[in-house]
């Protein structure tokens, strides 16, 4: 590994002190002269048509300034186009319908395109109704809590009182909470257009009475009709070859994202531009989306988002609701308007991870080798679009378990529950939680070690993966990864966790406590390509690194800036990272999703660093003679190799660059840069020596990171209560860029995985179609006190660089969650027995009742309870 001065070292990021001291300003912390406040009127019905709005009494109240309804909203932008080529590997970067195998990278565009339309290969059907795009305010609410209108007033108190005087009449429409209800013959449809999302369309799919009878008997009807099918190999043949076949029903809950900061936004207009203070994961990539929601051109929007209190995928390009204060402000001649989103509103409009009702069948040879996997998942997609978590679960499974035969069948059901979108490893977390316990069950039945059974099936090197539509033309290449060291993770973890000894504690009982020990793996996309890096070395001797990356809490906005500094050996104290305000001219970036930023921007900033260095070398050659390659940089100077005295200090180089102009000071930039980067470079041109570049580095394959997690739990079999005693995560993320932030991501992901398995839930009353768990105390995300106390959580990295990244780094945000969740549920099964825990979250009663009954003694498939 290269000997880096900055990369791989711990340091204090420039945003950290402000965050921990409360000085950091989030969207809600901004105040402006004459600022008004907005409150929203939310639909009390899960599905209805607004027939009348009478706001006259509200508008006549003193202190009420304006009302905004669906009629004031700009026409929704056309369905999201594929991201500019070469496409980042982000799964559903804007929350749009995801492709199965959503992680299909740019290297396999054909596969991605084919996978994006799984129904394309089916016989031609009459044109199907497309789903209307979601707009921030609506006349046809499709879930309880969907915003109908907004009121701007002098205070929130007045705005709320005004809303209590507005009369809205609704015509009720049928609604769906539990997806299986919608699949009944004659069951309700979640949308007027139908009940099942297929690609960008909506269709009607009903199961047979026989299928429903099986559901009522508590069994998932695995031969029911699916609206999408993907295959690899011959699953029938695979099962015929198997020595052991296991099949299980399965339920995973819908959870809401619940970032600590809600999607608050403040906006005002000045000199024809909209200034928007929002809460978003991405910055550069939020501009076009937000401008579209407001109905303006991207260049008319200035976005400020220096700090974001998390998003977990729910704010990839911000949120539609950010348009509300912007449009109200425009109505009020630019007067600043603040819309604070409460926790209850956040639970409604803040997005969800789709729940699963499904079935999984796996076939194994005696040595543990997988012969076939058959997976059927009904996903609760929410009301707006296909989510595709289910297909991504299949895709991920085909990577993590190199099975020769696999089939995926899925149905994406429209539910009148808060809209779904990517939530940290969408499909990836669910895949680990679903598949890992069955692998353990097979290991126990075959008498194999649980690490051994994983190693025999796990990917390595440039492993291939992916499924294809049933009638896809043959010969299409499968997707492959750029690097994979999950076996190394398992080995390293086994050693650090002392697996050989620890696993002997499996099932040991002391009084009423039983120990469970487990290992699980997880993976997710970890990098995209083709974005830009931008830096300016100014005459003050400082290097300004302009990042379009959002500061969503992962540190990637700062960590990747260090790659530029590293290229030109710039001391970190002399680097200024510019971020979080498009008015400060930032570079085009990837979305902060799909765990792609670290990989994408270490490449882009490597390119920018190289460009900066090249400019310094060329400048030195022009000033001091010789060829550019005769010069090197270091010690804040560009100097002649072999004659370090012949040098130009950086500050002086910046001045000289300005004098020379052209490519040196940013007046000429590479043509292939994104428009946003070009505009930023143009604004910064003439201020110093510029290093700007687009990532044109080669890549063959898709980039994935991997994790193995080791865990010990203690289950109280008298009460069903359990606690995690010890946890170790070992990751394959390539080169470690910043150990502290990596650890934060690994543990944060692990804890979120625990929360998914243990407590986090979204509960609905299906008679009224209304949410019951709208507060954090009853939707129960995990807390810092739900993790091991006596033995703090540990992590390690295998530190094997990815060959397609110049510094070897890969992403981590999402890969970290699946193994955590998978390990916990595996450990519980290890303690209480196989096949008992088929439903998450695993509440104490599931263990308590099922142990007494010797089988699952709870409603295995009912959704939203």
């Amino acid at each position: 590994m290269a000997d880096y001065k900055l990369i791989g070292k711990n340091y204090v990021t420039p945003d950290l002190v402000a965050k921990v001291t409360g000085k950091a300003r989030y969207a809600e912390d901004y105040r402006a002269e004459g600022m008004l406040f907005v409150k929203l009127l939310l639909s009390p019905r899960p599905h209805a048509r607004v027939t009348r709005i009478d706001a006259s009494a509200a508008l006549s109240m003193p202190g009420v300034h304006a009302i905004l309804t669906a009629d004031d909203m700009p026409a929704p932008p056309p369905p999201p186009a594929p991201p500019p080529a070469p496409a980042p590997a982000a799964p559903r970067p804007q929350g749009e319908a995801g492709a199965p195998g959503a992680a299909a990278g740019a290297a396999a565009p054909a596969a991605a395109a084919a996978a994006a339309a799984p129904a394309a290969a089916q016989p031609p059907a009459p044109p199907r109704p497309r789903v209307p795009a979601e707009v921030a305010l609506t006349k046809e609410p499709v879930y309880e809590g969907e915003p109908i209108l907004a009121v701007a007033a002098d205070s929130e108190d007045i705005a709320a009182a005004a809303i209590e005087r507005i009369v809205v009449e609704y015509e009720p429409l049928p609604f769906v909470i539990d997806p299986l209800d919608s699949l009944r013959p004659g069951g309700p449809d979640g949308r007027l257009e139908g009940n099942v999302f297929v690609g960008a369309n909506v269709e009607t799919l009903k199961w047979t009475a026989a299928d429903i009878a099986r559901i009522e008997a508590g069994t998932f009807p695995a031969d029911a009709a699916a609206s999408e099918t993907l295959v690899f190999g011959d699953v029938e043949k695979g099962f015929a070859e198997a020595d052991l076949v296991i099949e299980r029903d399965h339920y995973q809950q819908t959870t809401s994202h619940q970032p600590l900061e809600s999607r608050t936004a403040m906006a005002y207009w000045q000199n024809g531009k909209c200034y928007l203070h929002g809460s978003t994961q991405s910055v550069a990539r939020t501009v076009a989306a937000a401008a579209g929601w407001i109905g303006i051109k991207p260049e008319e929007l200035v976005l400020i988002s220096e700090y974001t209190g998390g998003g977990f995928g729910s704010k990839i390009p911000g949120a539609q609701s950010m348009a509300i204060p912007a449009l109200l402000s425009r109505k009020l001649n630019g007067r600043p308007v603040m819309m604070r989103i409460s926790r209850e509103e956040e639970t409604y409009i803040g997005r969800t991870r789709p729940g699963y009702q499904g079935w999984l069948k796996m076939g194994f040879k005696k040595d543990g080798r997988l012969t076939a996997i058959d997976m059927f998942i009904v996903e609760a997609a929410g009301p707006y679009r296909r989510q595709g978590d289910h297909a991504t679960s299949a895709n991920n499974t085909s990577l993590m378990y190199q099975v020769p035969n696999m089939r995926f069948r899925g149905v994406s059901v429209a539910t009148n529950t808060p809209p779904g979108t990517s939530q940290r490893a969408p499909g990836g977390l669910q895949a680990s939680v679903m598949v890992e316990p069955m692998v353990d069950e097979a290991a126990r039945k075959l008498g194999l070690d649980r690490i051994a059974i994983r190693k025999i099936n796990s990917p390595e090197g440039q492993a291939q993966f992916g499924l294809a539509p049933v009638n896809a033309p043959p010969g299409r290449p499968r997707n492959k990864v750029t690097s994979c060291f999950v076996k190394e993770c398992l080995d390293k973890g086994a050693e650090l966790f002392n697996w050989a000894e620890r696993s002997k504690r499996s099932g040991q009982r002391r009084g009423n406590k039983v120990t469970g020990v487990a290992v699980a793996t997880g993976s997710y996309t970890a990098g995209s390509i083709g974005v830009d890096g931008l830096s300016v070395l100014k005459p003050d001797g400082k290097l300004y690194i302009h990042q379009g990356i959002g500061n969503l809490g992962t540190h990637s906005v700062i960590d990747t800036a260090r790659v530029i500094a590293e290229q030109v050996d710039m001391p970190w104290e002399k680097c200024v990272v510019v971020w979080g305000n498009t008015g400060n001219h930032v570079a085009w970036s990837s979305v902060q999703a799909g765990s792609q930023t670290t990989y994408a921007h270490s490449r882009a900033n490597y390119a920018a660093g190289q460009a900066l260095k090249r400019n310094l070398q060329e400048l030195a050659a022009l000033e001091l003679g010789g060829a550019p390659d005769d010069y090197d940089v270091g010690g804040e100077r560009v100097f002649r190799r072999g004659n370090p005295g012949r040098a130009i200090p950086f500050a002086k180089a910046a001045e000289l660059a300005i004098k020379r102009g052209g490519k040196f000071d940013g007046h000429e930039v590479p043509k292939e840069l994104n428009g946003m980067t070009k505009a930023s470079a143009a604004a910064l041109a003439g201020l110093g020596l510029m290093g700007v570049a687009r990532d044109n580095l080669p890549r063959d394959g898709s980039t994935y990171s991997f994790q193995a997690a080791f865990i010990e739990v203690e289950v109280d079999v008298e009460t069903g209560v359990y606690r995690i005693v010890d946890y170790l995560a070992v990751v394959d993320v390539g080169t470690v860029m910043h150990p502290n932030s990596l650890g934060g991501q690994i543990h944060g992901g692990g804890i979120q995985g625990f929360g998914h398995v243990r407590s986090q839930n979204l509960v609905y009353d299906r008679h009224y179609g209304a949410g019951l768990s709208n507060r954090m105390y009853n939707n129960k995300p995990p807390t810092l006190l739900d993790v091991p106390v006596e033995q703090p959580m540990r992590w390690a990295a295998v530190e094997l660089p990815d060959p397609t990244n110049p510094i070897g780094a890969k992403g981590i945000g999402e890969p970290a969650i699946g193994a955590g969740g998978g390990a916990l549920i595996c450990a519980l099964a290890d303690a209480v027995g196989d096949g008992i825990l088929r439903r998450t979250p695993v509440h104490p009663e599931q263990i308590l009742m099922s142990l007494a009954a010797g089988k699952p003694a709870y409603e295995t498939l009912t959704a939203f309870i």
């Binding site: 009390p44 009720p172 009353d765």
Partner: protein, 272 residues
């Protein structure tokens, strides 16, 4: 004063919840005021009783009549008192908590309701097959009697129409109780779908919000109606000039003279 209580349903609709308890107080106060007014009037007014001469004459004419005449059979009296107990239990369990006497009343209330319903089913069968069914009902031929009663109450001396077995006031009261009772029982049975009892499968969503609202309001109205009716009933039962009826409801019979004084022997032919 509000007449009914409204609430916002989970879907944001205004739904009826129940009557306002102000109506209970209105009924209670109304009943007591009536009692005071009527009592005062009876004390000081010029209202007239029939002349005793007429009764003396009839007594001579109908010497064959037995000394005691059965007015209420044993079964009829059992029914009356069972019903009375149930009714008082219902009213007290319903309204004591409203006036601030807190106790677990719902169980006793629906149990009493079941008792009341059972006794009334018995009564309907008994009255239909074993009693003079029509004797309690009101009809056009009661108009002259009503006129005469009103005239007497205003002090006009008037002879003429007498009732059959049941005086007009009796029959009017029975009719009011019948209307209120049917309303209370029907609504009460529907309301039991929202309470856990061994009798029905609990299903609070048996009807829609509006239908339940109406049911609760009907139950409330009939309930507070009973408060007034019961006050009036007890008052009249204790009035000296009506006390012979009260006694007959206890012991079953009236004297020959009471029979001839208060009844038209042709409309109610004493059998013994």
């Amino acid at each position: 004063m509000d007449f009914v209580t409204w609430a916002l349903s989970p879907w944001g609709e205004n739904i009826l919840i129940r009557i306002s308890w102000d109506l209970f107080w209105a009924s209670l106060v109304g009943g007591i005021l009536f009692l005071v007014a009527h009592g005062g009037y009876m004390l000081f007014s010029p209202h007239h009783k029939r002349e005793s001469g007429e009764v003396d004459r009839m007594e001579k004419e109908r010497a064959g009549l037995p000394a005691r005449i059965e007015r209420h059979s044993f079964m009829a009296r059992v029914f009356h008192w069972v019903m009375a107990v149930a009714m008082l239990a219902l009213v007290f369990t319903a309204f004591l908590p409203v006036v601030g006497v807190k106790f677990a009343w719902v169980y006793w209330h629906w149990m009493a309701g079941i008792l009341l319903t059972g006794s009334i089913i018995f009564h309907v069968i008994h009255a239909t097959f074993f009693m003079d069914f029509w004797s309690i009902w009101l009809g056009p031929r009661d108009i002259p009697e009503a006129k005469a009663e009103i005239m007497r109450d205003f002090g006009v001396e008037i002879g003429g129409p007498k009732p059959g077995k049941y005086p007009l006031g009796n029959r009017l009261y029975h009719f009011a109780v019948l209307v209120a009772g049917v309303g209370a029982i029907a609504s009460g049975l529907l309301m039991m779908s929202r309470v856990r009892t061994p009798i029905f499968e609990r299903n609070p969503y048996l009807m829609g919000d509006a239908a339940y609202g109406l049911t609760y309001v009907i139950h409330g109205l009939t309930g507070v109606g009973f408060v007034g009716l019961i006050i009036a009933h007890i008052y009249f039962a204790l009035r000296p000039e009506k006390f012979w009826i009260t006694k007959s409801m206890i012991f079953g019979t009236i004297s020959k003279r009471e029979y001839l004084e208060h009844h038209d022997p042709d409309r109610w032919v004493a059998t013994k």
